[in-house]
């Protein structure tokens, strides 16, 4: 029986080099009976946790697994050949992390610049294997990092610890003398911890080379160790590896030549095969076992410590947390803490103490307290909302008296997972919070988690297509078949959709390799907000590197890795609606002297629910989407809990599981509330009652589905959790099928209807990564209520705050403004004398608040210009000359302002203002010479210009502001369309069910939900909006109209639901975008050649999007 340990393994975390996933190696090592396998990627530890997880799984299942060694392959910039570095113990692992961090910190994002000196500094406890360069491989790559580094340096980005230029080598030390000298040098620095790595590349002279290495190792006094310098786990991956190499080297397979490997030998070989290859030096094989035995480090030794929150003297962290909790609870319930809450708090605190995670709560509490002290709105989401302690500490806003909390969902003893608290902050001010955390914990204790960016169908087919020499056009066509960029496979049907033959050899190959490539990591980026905080040095747990953004750092592991190692993280997320709510609160306080906070907004106002029941929800958090707006009149929310359901029900899970309609029927009393039950011999008929009673027997929330698996299919809680994770993370078809069988068979075996079981599984599938647990839905429902309350009682402030928080939400400013006007808010145009950068509120003559558009709505106008304009305004500008001379704006700024018609209060319309401004000489005069310049230009006598027709004014408004307060564009075309018998949107809304009708309007939104092929188009005219449904058949036929029209005419049948929701089911579509050309012409004087002109003349760039592009969602 041969023994062998492979220590030179390159996974696909060495981007575009390794052609196998870490877990594939671990499984292969087990299958081939290796004694140990060492993962060593190029200057990174990014893939080790994936390997560790696979290893743990094997160990749990079989009780025995090859030893997993964690290391890195150090690649140097100074000509030192690559060295495998394996930490022998925990301390050495910390040093390896420090070493890699040091290399990353001096390099641009994603790179790592190391020299031999760095290694010598951190080598203690590291086992070092010098890998001689592959024969026949030039050192072309060596110069590359040096080049980027030099570029950085040229840009003056050098920092402390940079490597001096002369250290960069152009070639590898490759000849024997140099290698031997290096070995001796390493041996002196790290006695007993240096090896010379040998490999057999099948180049004909392998045995000769091996002899040489043996001699060299002997001379240097270090042992020789056998490796296969592995790039993939099975020889079949050679082709993919070739493709990766081509992607990396930006060449095609045709031109790649010797850049590719000559054969498929760099796979994970069996001990027998290795023994045969190294039959001349069996000691090198034996050495692998000794090497593996030297390593005592394993990832489970990463003892993680929560940051030590300062605790008042004489108190433990648990006591401190308890004190804070009770004080907070007393504040939450001024009338006394309800008994039930008291009990919950006591229970939670006990569990927190038992699991010793009080520090974690204190840490999050500290971050939240900071945000509140700065007036930054924040609110916890996700499973944290299940905690009454979090509620008492002010981290979450879900009142335990309103929602039954499931603390076990958040912290559970059996799962042994760290709790995960996600907190949303205002999107514009989140950076302040992040900077606070950095300042508080230091960069060496706090960093962002990584986001692993993987190849997706589109990126994969694009890259692979290039490698096969397909033109950009063909790959674009292949990629275009994929709607949206998610998915895990490119299907033949999608290839056909691109009018390409999936049977064609090259196409078929490109698709095959693209499918293999999907899911391969491509690069690491920073996670949006997952912060990892530690008590000890973070860079001794995992390498830390800089992000693109200055002063941002992120670790090499993503959130799944962190979870697997039970390291705590706080998600500091950005939420636009919080910004909007804070701005609205500020406006209300300023103009109406009412102080509000998330907690003090009056609860359960029936007027708010009445508004939502009418689907009057533009701008309201979460429920403003088309699907939600359809649901509102059906669900008719009357209480807060209805909003929780509203938020959760319009999600892929319940929709795919077909749970929506049963729920609605039961709610409306059209169907009896019954519970699916098992056969009597298997359990009580009401066993699901406890799980589903809140939602009338229909599972809607994620945890209900999980509970269902436990109760009905007898999953263990761990299995149920595994099921959830299998769906959420990397989709492994095998695992999913196993769970599928277990769930459906488990349920049917116990006497449940198969159809119900299947629906349950589909729902779980649909939850995937989009599922909402109840607590999360409750946290969001709270924001739904608050934003709806503001909209209902303070519409002007709401619209103003919404506009000032853009971009966010579903609707363009034009829709927000229109909605505000429909709610009786007066909206005033941008004006040089009244506007500020932000939109503002003004008190109108009648006492109501009016919304004044700000300069931020003007396309191309800068905040700096606005500031100067406002600062120099004083008591107002009396005429155009005063604006020119006092504000000191560049001519461009003035022209933009004139185009936006911002001189209205001076009595000058846009055409006149523009014509007059064109005359001023380019730069504004310096303030010093202002006096001399005042009457610089002779006043000129001008013949009047032709008056601008209203339609052109409106069109220009749209160009400059994306909205117009004058009129809707469709008003000018109404006569034309009326003559054709086209109805207005309002008329459509009033039309009877089944009526044949046509509507025309500007396309606001196009949506193609899921892959059903139906397209929903929202048209807008001066009377309102009209929802058009285009069935897949028709989409095929009218594709050009569906995708291209900005002004669309839709003809079809009116469909009216019992709740009064009206759709126009299209039967014929027409693109009438051309009609817009009419609008810019002076009436009656259309030059004869305009139509031709439009076709040939290059448009002014801004003209090309007179109408804002519709917002399309796939």
């Amino acid at each position: 029986m041969n023994s062998y340990a492979e220590i030179a393994v390159t996974t696909n975390f060495s981007f575009l080099r390794g052609a196998s996933h870490p877990h594939e190696y671990v499984h292969a090592a087990e299958a081939k009976n290796l004694d140990a396998i060492g993962i060593a990627d190029r200057n990174t530890l990014a893939g080790v946790v994936r390997a560790y997880e696979a290893w743990q799984e094997i160990k749990e299942n079989t009780g025995k697994a090859p030893k997993l060694l964690i290391g890195a392959r150090l690649v140097f910039v100074d000509g030192t050949p690559e060295i495998l570095a394996y930490p022998s113990d925990r301390a050495a692992y910390g040093r390896l992390c420090r070493l890699l961090s040091a290399g990353k910190l001096r390099a641009p994002k994603g790179e790592c610049l190391l020299t031999l000196e760095d290694l010598l500094k951190w080598q203690e406890g590291l086992l070092l294997v010098l890998m001689p360069p592959h024969p026949g491989r030039e050192a072309a790559e060596i110069g590359l990092p040096a080049k980027t580094w030099n570029q950085e340096r040229a840009q003056g980005k050098g920092g402390p610890g940079v490597i001096p230029k002369e250290k960069f080598a152009k070639t590898l030390l490759a000849n024997h003398q140099e290698l031997e000298a290096l070995l001796v040098k390493l041996r002196h620095a790290a006695p007993g911890r240096v090896w010379l790595g040998a490999f057999m590349p099948y180049r004909g002279d392998d045995r000769r080379r091996l002899k040489n290495w043996q001699r060299m190792a002997h001379a240097a006094g270090v042992p020789l160790i056998a490796t296969n310098d592995v790039l993939y786990h099975t020889p079949e991956r050679r082709e993919l590896q070739d493709v990766l190499t081509c992607i990396r080297e930006h060449c095609t397979l045709e031109t790649a030549g010797r850049v590719l490997e000559a054969n498929a030998e760099r796979y994970l070989k069996s001990p027998e095969e290795m023994a045969r290859l190294f039959r001349d030096t069996p000691e090198a094989i034996a050495e692998t076992i000794r090497f593996a035995e030297r390593i005592t480090f394993s990832l489970n030794q990463l003892q993680y410590h929560y940051p030590d929150e300062p605790v008042p003297k004489g108190k433990t962290a648990d006591q401190h947390l308890a004190d804070l909790t009770w004080a907070g609870a007393a504040e939450r319930y001024p009338g006394g803490i309800p008994d039930s809450v008291c009990e919950t708090l006591r229970k939670e605190l006990a569990l927190i103490e038992k699991m010793r995670i009080a520090q974690y709560f204190l840490t999050v509490y500290d971050v939240v307290r900071f945000a509140k002290s700065r007036g930054i709105l924040c609110q916890g989401r996700g499973s944290a909302a299940n905690s009454a302690v979090c509620f008492a500490l002010g981290i979450t806003n879900v009142d335990p008296t309103e929602i039954d909390l499931l603390f076990e969902r958040f912290v559970s003893e059996e799962r042994r997972e760290p709790p995960d608290i996600d907190v949303d902050f205002e999107h514009e001010r989140r950076e302040e919070v992040i900077q606070y955390v950095y300042q508080r914990y230091g960069h060496h204790r706090a960093a962002l988690t990584a986001a692993r960016i993987c190849y997706r169908p589109r990126s994969a087919i694009r890259e692979v297509g290039k490698v096969f020499g397909l033109t950009e056009d063909v790959t674009a066509r292949l990629a275009s078949g994929v709607w949206g960029s998610w998915g895990d496979e490119l299907k033949a049907s999608e290839v056909r959709q691109g009018k390409l033959d999936p049977e064609n050899l090259v196409i078929a190959r490109a698709v095959r390799f693209a499918n293999q490539l999907i899911g391969f990591p491509r690069h690491l980026s920073q996670h949006v907000g997952g912060l990892v905080l530690t008590n000890d040095r973070l860079d001794e747990i995992v390498p830390v590197g800089p992000a693109t953004m200055k002063d941002r750092f992120f670790i090499e592991w993503d959130k799944d890795d962190i979870d697997a190692l039970r390291i705590m993280k706080v998600d500091v997320l950005a939420l636009g609606m919080l910004t909007c709510i804070r701005k609205a609160f500020a406006l209300i306080e300023k103009h109406e002297h009412k102080r509000l906070s998330l907690a003090t907004v009056p609860r359960e106002e029936s007027a708010v629910y009445a508004m939502l029941q009418k689907a009057d929800a533009i701008g309201v958090f979460q429920v403003e989407s088309r699907a939600q707006m359809n649901m509102l009149p059906r669900l008719k929310p009357k209480t807060f809990y209805d909003l929780v359901i509203e938020v959760a029900i319009v999600r892929p899970g319940p929709i795919q599981g077909d749970m929506v309609h049963p729920y609605l029927r039961r709610r409306n009393g059209q169907e009896a509330v019954t519970y699916e039950s098992p056969a009597p011999e298997h359990g009580p008929p009401d066993e699901l009652h406890a799980v589903l009673s809140k939602t009338l027997g229909v599972p809607l929330f994620q945890e209900q589905a999980m509970k269902l698996a436990i109760v009905a299919a007898k999953f263990t809680p761990a299995e149920a959790n595994g099921l959830r994770r299998a769906m959420a993370t990397f989709r492994n078809v095998g695992t999913i099928n196993r769970f599928r069988c277990k769930l459906i068979e488990g349920m049917t075996a116990r006497g449940y209807r198969r159809e119900f079981a299947e629906r349950c599984f589909q729902q779980i599938e649909g939850f995937g990564s989009y599922g909402f647990p109840e607590s999360h839905a409750a946290a969001f429902a709270h924001l739904v209520y608050v934003s709806a309350w503001i909209k209902r009682f303070h519409p002007a402030a709401f619209a103003c705050a919404l506009l000032n928080s853009q971009p966010m939400g579903f609707y363009a400013p034009a829709e927000i403004v229109r909605d505000a006007r429909e709610h009786g808010v007066e909206v005033r145009h941008v004006d040089v004398n009244f506007s500020e950068w932000d939109n503002t509120l003004e008190r109108a003559e009648n006492g109501a608040l009016a919304l004044r558009l700000g300069f931020r709505q003007v396309g191309g106008f800068s905040e700096d210009w606005a500031a100067r304009l406002v600062a120099a305004r004083g008591n107002g500008y009396a005429d155009l000359e005063k604006v020119i001379h006092r504000a000191g704006l560049p001519k461009r700024a003035l022209l933009i302002l004139a185009e936006a018609d911002g001189f209205g209060s001076l009595g000058i319309d846009r055409r006149t203002a523009l014509w007059r401004l064109r005359r001023i000489s380019a730069p504004a005069p310096l303030p010093l010479f202002e006096a001399q310049h005042v009457e610089e230009q002779e006043p000129e006598e001008l013949a009047p210009l032709p008056a601008m027709p209203p339609s052109e004014h409106v069109l220009t408004d749209y160009e400059m502001l994306r909205l117009s307060l004058r009129a809707h564009l469709m008003e000018f075309l109404r006569d034309l369309f009326a003559a054709e018998g086209v109805l207005s949107c309002a008329e459509i809304a009033a039309a009877p069910d089944g009526a044949h009708a046509a509507a025309a309007g500007i396309v606001l939104v196009r949506q193609m939900p899921g892959d059903a092929g139906v397209v929903f188009v929202t048209l807008s005219d001066e009377t309102g909006v009209c929802n058009v449904v285009v069935w897949p058949k028709l989409v095929e036929h009218f594709r050009r109209e569906v995708m291209g029209a900005r002004l669309m005419l839709a003809e079809g049948r009116v469909q009216r639901s019992p709740e009064g929701i009206v759709h126009l089911v299209a039967e014929r579509l027409a693109d009438r975008t051309g009609e817009l050309d009419r609008l810019s012409e002076d009436e009656g004087k259309a030059p004869m050649c305009r139509a031709q002109a439009a076709r040939y003349v290059h448009c002014h760039p801004r003209n090309e999007r007179v109408i804002p592009r519709s917002r399309d969602f796939h």
Partner: protein
């Protein structure tokens, strides 16, 4: 037609059908595909378009010598005094349009007193002919876009409500100058026929040609060669001025009885050294299978450079390497002139692992500058060098081996049995999988020395146990002999 603009693949030109589908120039291909999924696109080739425009310009030279290019897709013809030759202006315009249309082009054209007016009319009023002195009347009705001003100015004029040229022309000149500068006013006047801006006709491409006529026909070889040498000198001077050298030269010998003999030579590198050119012709003339027959003598000899390339002038001629290169090129040229360029060949390395494809033979004169010199290949440290004698295709041999994956012990090649003494290998080379529909077996190469000390390069097809299940099924081949 599509090209990459602003980081996206965009449409640069399209046909009528595409226009009818709602596509337009400047649209990204992705957007266009969303509208017309089975859209066929072709990569734009601006250089080729320009050449085509030049060819059309050449053809237009038949109507008037004054043809100017107005790229990307217009030509300006100065037809002053030419129209009557074709039956008047209308007839001329019709003829040009009809003949171009017959060649498959869509043509728009107009005639006016100034180039700007004609250009404006052609774009916006196809087929218009402005009566003499009355350009302005037609032009004023055109949209301002017809002035072909920069987009910002056009936009400003439209915004001001001045949407036709007439409306613009009605404003005072000072008012316009103050806003848009004097050039804009000039362009306006030019379009209205009030200012003249002559077109700049194309210059003919330089033509490297030297010829000598003789009052008394020459017959003697020396006379002919001396003439060629003299012509080579003047040709060289011409090329020197343009910074080019000849890659192909032709000599024409016009016999007094009207027969013309043409002799062509090619060079490996652009050259303009008169001595070399003359010598190459001498070699060629001496080597002619069908000797130059002067008959009663040549009364004219012409020498022209039919293909030229830019010469990268190097600062010094003293560099020995450059000098050596020149000598090698000269040798190649002389040999090729004598034996034909198809017979003077050069090995060029090819970047692949596959042994039989790792080199190609190309005519030395046309060999591209090597991307990868042999030196680099040699220094790559490829220990078992390739055999000098190479069999293509490789010859099958019968082999007896000890173990399936082991080296041969004995083999029979061309019916002779060889016993193996020394062996090194295997060198494992996998085939280029992307070239074949079904996988080709990997080869294991062995360097072998037999009892007589002869060295062979053998390979086994297929990795036993992995690619071929049964070891005896492995086939062996001899691909080469070492020296």
């Amino acid at each position: 037609m599509v090209a990459k603009r602003d980081h996206a693949l965009r449409i640069t030109a399209l046909d009528r059908q595409a226009t009818a589908h709602g596509l337009s120039s400047g649209m990204t291909v992705a957007d266009a595909r969303a509208i017309v999924p089975n859209l066929e696109v072709v990569q734009a080739n601006e250089a080729a378009d320009f050449r085509l425009l030049e060819r059309i310009a050449d053809w237009c030279g038949g109507f008037t010598p004054f043809v100017a290019l107005d790229p990307p897709r217009a030509l300006l013809l100065d037809i002053t005094g030419a129209a009557h030759l074709f039956g008047g202006e209308a007839a001329l315009l019709d003829q040009i349009r009809a003949e171009l249309a017959r060649r498959g082009f869509t043509v728009r054209g107009a005639i006016a007193g100034t180039a700007a007016a004609a250009r404006a009319l052609a774009r916006y009023q196809n087929g218009a002919i402005a009566p003499p002195e009355q350009d302005a009347e037609l032009i004023t009705r055109l949209p301002v876009e017809a002035l072909f001003l920069d987009p910002a100015t056009t936009h400003a004029l439209r915004r001001a409500g001045l949407k036709t040229i007439g409306q613009v022309a009605a404003r005072s000149r000072t008012e316009l100058t103050a806003r848009f500068g004097s050039r804009m006013v000039f362009m306006l006047d030019h379009a209205l026929g009030r200012a003249e801006l002559p077109i700049t006709p194309r210059l003919p491409a330089p033509d490297y040609r030297a010829e000598k006529r003789f009052a008394e026909p020459v017959i003697s070889r020396e006379g002919i060669l001396a003439t060629l040498a003299a012509l080579a000198r003047s040709l060289a001077a011409m090329m020197e001025r343009q910074g080019v050298g000849a890659r192909a030269l032709e000599a024409f010998f016009f016999r007094s009885d009207g027969a013309v003999r043409r002799i062509a030579i090619a060079t490996a590198a652009p050259t303009r050294e008169a001595g070399i050119i003359a010598r190459l012709f001498r070699e060629k003339i001496d080597a002619l299978a069908d000797p130059l027959d002067p008959g009663f003598g040549f009364d004219m000899i012409r020498l022209c450079a039919s293909r030229t390339e830019r010469i990268e002038t190097c600062p010094s001629d003293f560099e020995t390497e450059a000098e050596r290169q020149r000598e090698i090129h000269f040798l190649i040229d002389r040999l090729s002139a004598r034996f034909g360029s198809g017979r003077v060949l050069l090995f060029q390395p090819n970047n692949t692992h596959i042994p039989e494809a790792a080199f190609v033979l190309v005519p030395a004169q046309f060999a591209k500058p090597m991307q990868e010199a042999w030196v680099a290949v040699r220094n790559r440290g490829e220990a078992p060098r390739r055999p000098l004698r190479f069999f293509a295709p490789p010859e099958p041999v019968e082999v007896m081996a000890e173990t399936p994956e082991g080296p041969p012990r004995q083999f029979r090649w061309r019916s002779a049995l060889h016993t193996v003494c020394r062996v090194e290998g295997p060198e494992r080379i996998a085939m280029e999988w992307w070239r074949y529909e079904t996988p080709r077996p990997t080869r294991d190469y062995f360097r072998i020395e037999d009892e007589q000390g002869r060295r062979f390069w053998l390979y086994r097809e297929g990795i036993p146990g992995r690619e071929t299940p049964e070891a005896p099924a492995c086939r062996w081949f001899l691909q080469g002999l070492f020296a």
